[in-house]
Symmetry: C2
Subunit: 489 residues, 2 copies
């Protein structure tokens, strides 16, 4: 946290904080450059070698989707989230969940099961309430945003200004804004575009003297639930409380404001930023036959979540398919040449604190240690394929591997991508990586809300995701050659 105080580091922190959002924006617009893929010129030997994995891929898929492992991933995820609930960085539940996963990984006979420490932020939600008091009393369901300060005791009562965009807000004079609660009601465009109001709204409003901000929840669709998420104070601005309200209430407030109605809101938030604490990344492996602590293939998701819902989707599903991919490969007796390492990151939601600590701790030998990074953090709905980031040689190899996933009807390929939020710690520097493509059109309906529950997860789809994950990781880990990479120091 201290490091954030210098401008450069603060900016880097902010960039990291918003990368998943930027990434979501990238995903919205990217093009499958398949025509480029056609220019690949892999040797016949390598092509034949990859094609030779089809039977083993088929076996992995068949045993996970239709065999003895079917349904196990959903059951394990349900037991995890039903037992520990939400898993906010800094919370006792997260640490208990980590202990439980360590125990379960040992029970699953994963190898080198251990945790590695990471210092993480410790923001806590206290009592929260927002109420429209003028022109009539109406409770406004809301969720304070991660890192938001609370209100003074007794709360803030202030008049409301409502705007649809930063452009509209810019036109307001500071004297119009001073002392007001600013309600930002951006239209949904994409997560990458719309989330900027959540991330930056408080800082933007504070500069003109606002006393608090309320932001339309960042979702394309709502049934009256607020969505939380992170936000960031720019250096030097006065830290004002910031929360999301529902889409429905935000739009109502904007309509009333535009009709010229005077509105007053009473906002109370006892949210606090406490001292950072030590959490842990959770690791379990299937050791390679030829390489043990080098050329590792990482499969990963994050175990932490926001404190609403239970984080079954974000990112319980990603964590579980990474852990269970290794479990099932081991149970099938499929040991690749390289080690497959499941990493369940901690404190992703607050800015990848677990992955950043892991990167630092493994930096010295990272080029030798890491071969490839998988990450699933955009849902585990029905899988469609895999995306990719890395150099052209690696891409050509990976395209062929994705073709093996035809029994799952999951051969979509997309590039470029940053490969997932946690693994951007490596993929933005030249390591190759991939994240799960899946039918996640409704992902943001549930994201960071009380709707993030087991009801979102389907047992058969989870089986397909874990089968894809296990098969792809196995092939990458067992190839005769390492994945090519051009790492920038």
């Amino acid at each position: 946290m201290e490091a954030c105080r210098s401008f450069v580091l603060r900016f880097a922190f902010f960039a990291l904080l918003v990368v998943p959002e930027v990434r979501a924006g990238v995903l919205d617009n990217r093009i499958d450059q398949f025509q480029l893929g056609e220019s690949c010129n892999l040797s016949d030997n390598l092509l034949q070698e990859i094609k030779g994995y089809q039977s083993i891929v088929n076996k992995i898929i068949s045993r996970i989707v239709d065999g003895e492992f079917a349904g196990q991933t959903w059951e394990s995820l349900a037991e995890l989230v039903d037992t520990f609930g939400a898993r906010l960085a800094g919370s006792e539940q997260l640490e208990k969940a980590i202990d439980y996963v360590v125990e379960q990984m040992q029970h699953d006979q994963l190898e080198n099961v251990h945790t590695e420490n990471a210092t993480v932020p410790h923001w806590v939600r206290g009592y929260e309430s927002a109420q429209l008091v003028t022109p009539f009393k109406r409770n406004l369901p809301m969720l304070g945003l991660g890192t938001s300060v609370g209100t003074p005791r007794g709360g803030i009562i202030a008049d409301v200004i409502a705007v649809e965009s930063f452009q509209e807000f810019e036109k307001l004079a500071a004297e119009q804004v001073k002392g007001k609660i600013v309600v930002f009601v951006p239209k949904w465009e994409s997560y990458g575009k719309t989330v900027m109001y959540r991330s930056k709204g408080a800082s933007v409003a504070s500069k003109k003297g606002a006393v608090a901000t309320l932001i339309r929840s960042v979702t394309p669709f709502s049934i009256g639930s607020p969505h939380t998420g992170g936000q960031d104070y720019e250096d030097g601005v006065k830290k004002i409380p910031s929360a999301c309200i529902t889409v429905e209430d935000a739009e109502m407030i904007l309509r009333k404001y535009r009709r010229g109605e005077q509105m007053t809101i009473h906002l109370e938030m006892e949210d606090r930023n406490l001292e950072p604490v030590v959490s842990r990344n959770t690791i379990g492996e299937l050791l390679g036959t030829t390489y043990t602590n080098s050329s590792v293939v990482v499969v990963s998701g994050h175990l932490d979540s926001w404190d609403v819902g239970v984080g079954a989707m974000d990112d319980g599903g990603g964590a579980l398919i990474s852990w269970k991919a290794v479990t099932f490969l081991k149970a099938m007796g499929l040991r690749a040449k390289r080690t497959i390492r499941a990493i369940l990151w901690t404190a992703e939601e607050e800015g990848y604190w677990g992955a950043r600590a892991y990167k630092e701790a493994h930096k010295q030998n990272e080029k030798k240690e890491f071969n490839f990074f998988f990450e699933s953090d955009m849902g585990t709905f029905e899988p469609k394929g895999l995306d990719f980031v890395g150099n052209k040689d690696a891409e050509c190899i990976f395209r062929e591997i994705v073709k093996l996933m035809s029994p799952l009807n999951a051969t979509d390929f997309a590039t470029p991508t940053d490969g997932g939020p946690d693994i951007t710690n490596w993929t933005t520097r030249g390591f190759p990586g991939s994240s799960l493509l899946n039918k996640n059109e409704k992902y943001f309906w549930f994201h960071h809300s009380s709707g993030d529950s087991m009801a979102v997860e389907d047992p058969k789809n989870l089986d397909k995701c874990v089968a894809l994950w296990a098969a792809a990781a196995y092939v990458v880990a067992d190839l005769s050659i390492s994945m090519p990479k051009d790492v920038v120091d």
Copy 2:
């Protein structure tokens, strides 16, 4: 309320209370008996007369959907619900909203604008909270059910029993249930079937000594929001508190219970049943050229709502299309032979108290007074057509009228139906009636929840609904003959 104490009347009350649910069940299963329709034998004169209305229907549709009235219904609905919010029977907001509609109807130059009194229940939601306290603390978002009693001061703390069905509950001995909070977690089948757990759960559980019931919200889809609604205590049972929790939490509790986990819930509800109060049905007319207070064609929806969300869908949309259909016909100078009467019912949600009072007050001359009843209370999404209840002769006429709605692509016809919840006061006794068929597949997603907001309503669809409503009402009101009926005394 007193009348409910005798068994027969209480049963009648309960039947009325659940009729919309029964009706929804009927709707799920009914068949468009089109082949029967083919057996109609209308005179050529009448057929030609009905067909002759096509140009006027086209004009009504064109001016409402594409002309000067386009968008007005949505704007008026938004202003109503933004200004008064939810409109629970017995509340000050409902009465203020009624005053406002009277004023607006006068402004729209409707005729005979007035209200008629109805005594209505006055249940109020107080402070409510449910928390899982063992094995870990977790807030359970919930909504007490209409007519539910509160808990003793300080709430109830009790162990949990969770079951999926009444059948499963029947197998439990009273000593297993005594002193427990019973959580009913029925699978969604249809509203008509699943709502029985909400309506009857408390009575069923109370008979075996339960201290409270929590019920899975009655919706096929959820993003973490609880849904409220009415419930009914059977005569003689101890009245225990009853509330709905979210689908997500209910399913979690059932899974945990089935794993053998012991759970304790702390439930606090300050909900109370107060003395009944006087509310009002709101009425505005377009007088007939030939008949003024006889052979009236009623277009209706209810103005009251539950106290969560703002009742834009249930039933603001139905109320607005009824009111605005008359407004627009008047503004177009289209006066039919018969009077078209918009009625905005009060206190539908608690059991049609407004419609029941209206029926009693108009009973003496009802056969002469009423020609036909329209009601919209199942959404105002994109219209598909009209359903019908009444005798065969009326059905044959109405089928021809529905065919006129082809410019709206809304010529679906279905029968039998009870014609809508409020108008069952007449249609179950032989008066002909119709309710709006619309693309309401997602209706129960929002129903009785904080998701019932303007975000559900689309301006263009509302225009189409009001155009259909105005056109159909005009033709029925202007026909050379009254709609045939076989009224049971």
